[in-house]
């Protein structure tokens, strides 16, 4: 790797270039400097999330109630799917270090193998994220928005009761659902076991609920987007799309870089260059993506 560094001429005067005080190559150092700026960008995003969460702490959705589904499994499995996504990303970080390690030893075929596994991990992660976005946008049980933009839920025995069930519709039949508030109120009134859970997690009994809906309800919410969110405060959805989206875009860029890296490795570019430092530099970026996810996982899903 030494030949990728500017050779230090011990006789040259200091301050005229040529000294390598950090003993790191130009490319690696610049990747680190870029990652510092990216660290601060993501810090700002997550701090912004913290601001809104602290400001609206009474009405903020509980993440464990939002992300409860797992593909092909029924029922509630809070955290399980994000745990799987985290595992995929950690695993792909490991395969990346292995690729870097074999790059140091100039073992081209092993670098190719571990880079391929890393790309596979990245693609798996992006697919999982696409599934999760799809599920989040489609929504779960539906909700009712009030005139003052608060979001409340229909409940049975203090458990959230799906508006699809209330309307006798299949949430996953592939059609685009939309329910009129008047119809929902009518069906709601006919089942005396139903009540409401207000935005501050307090409950109303059936008769009070009907009155409450008449006075305050404005429309039925199904799913989440940038302007409405059935899980609670709309900012939660905005931050979700923005932060996981920006992170997902980093993963996507990483996969593109890794594919270019893999093609170059197969073509023997680094073999001819005499070192695999490019694998190390892109590896830094890839680990950073994992690092950011560790924080997103904690602050978006766990706490």
């Amino acid at each position: 790797m030494a030949d990728s560094l500017i050779q230090n001429d011990m006789n040259a005067p200091a301050w005229k270039g040529g000294d390598v005080p950090y003993k790191a190559s130009y490319g690696k150092m610049m990747m680190w400097f870029f990652l510092i700026t990216d660290t601060l960008t993501f810090s700002a995003f997550l701090t912004g999330y913290g601001f809104s969460r602290f400001k609206f702490k009474d009405v903020w959705p509980v993440p464990e109630d939002v992300f409860t589904h797992f593909p092909f499994l029924h029922g509630d499995h809070p955290l399980l799917f994000v745990a799987l996504m985290t595992f995929i990303l950690i695993m792909s970080s490991v395969t990346m270090v292995l690729a870097v390690n074999y790059g140091h030893k100039m073992q081209k075929n092993k670098v190719i193998m571990w880079l391929s596994f890393t790309i596979l991990g990245g693609v798996l992660f992006l697919s999982s994220q696409a599934w999760e976005w799809g599920h989040f946008i489609h929504g779960d049980s539906g909700a009712i928005e009030l005139n003052n933009a608060d979001v409340i839920h229909v409940v049975k025995d203090k458990e959230i009761y799906s508006i699809y069930d209330l309307m006798g519709a299949d949430s996953y039949d592939g059609s685009h659902h939309a329910f009129e508030l008047a119809d929902v109120k009518e069906n709601f009134a006919s089942d005396s076991e139903l009540g409401l859970r207000l935005y501050d997690k307090t409950f109303l009994d059936h008769s009070t609920s009907i009155e409450y809906l008449d006075q305050n309800a404005s429309k039925v919410l199904l799913g989440a987007n940038l302007t409405s969110n059935e899980y609670g405060h709309v900012l939660f959805a905005d931050y979700f799309f923005f932060i996981t989206g920006f992170h997902g875009f980093h993963v996507f860029s990483g996969v593109v870089l890794l594919i270019i890296l893999l093609i170059n490795t197969i073509m023997g570019t680094y073999e001819r260059r005499g070192h695999y430092e490019m694998v190390e530099k892109i590896g830094l970026y890839w680990h950073f993506v994992d690092l950011v996810w560790v924080f997103v996982f904690t602050f978006f899903y766990l706490v």
Binding site: Y22, W32, K55, K57, E64, V94, E280, H287, V303
Partner: protein
């Protein structure tokens, strides 16, 4: 990194098991919290405005971040001066940002 560590892959897998173990522990705490099995003081008692459980999650997250940055990203084996060049901006600016924004958020909450 020393030659001795370069010789095998065991150090990579060691970090992998640590990261996996810490993540599994976090998920377990999260699920126990949802199901209501955690001691009440962890979930309801707060310190500096955050539940004790949140503090535990933050410490575990920083441990994971440390392993990723120092071992996987190799920063632990770089020159001392280089390590500080990378880490100091984050160590100064991120707590500063958190302090001003989150104390402002509390103010915004009280003023609503």
């Amino acid at each position: 990194m020393s030659e001795e560590q370069h010789s095998g892959n065991w150090w990579i897998w060691k970090v992998f098991w640590i990261l996996l173990g810490v993540t599994a522990f976090e998920v377990m705490l999260g699920i126990l919290k949802v199901d209501g099995y955690l001691p009440e003081f962890l979930v309801f008692d707060t310190f500096l405005g955050l539940a004790w459980l949140t503090h535990i999650f933050i410490v575990l997250t920083l441990i994971k971040a440390g392993y990723i940055v120092l071992v996987f990203m190799h920063l632990g084996f770089e020159e001392k001066s280089f390590q500080w060049t990378i880490l100091l901006p984050a160590f100064i600016l991120v707590p500063y940002l958190l302090f001003i924004i989150l104390s402002e958020a509390t103010h915004a909450y009280l003023m609503m």
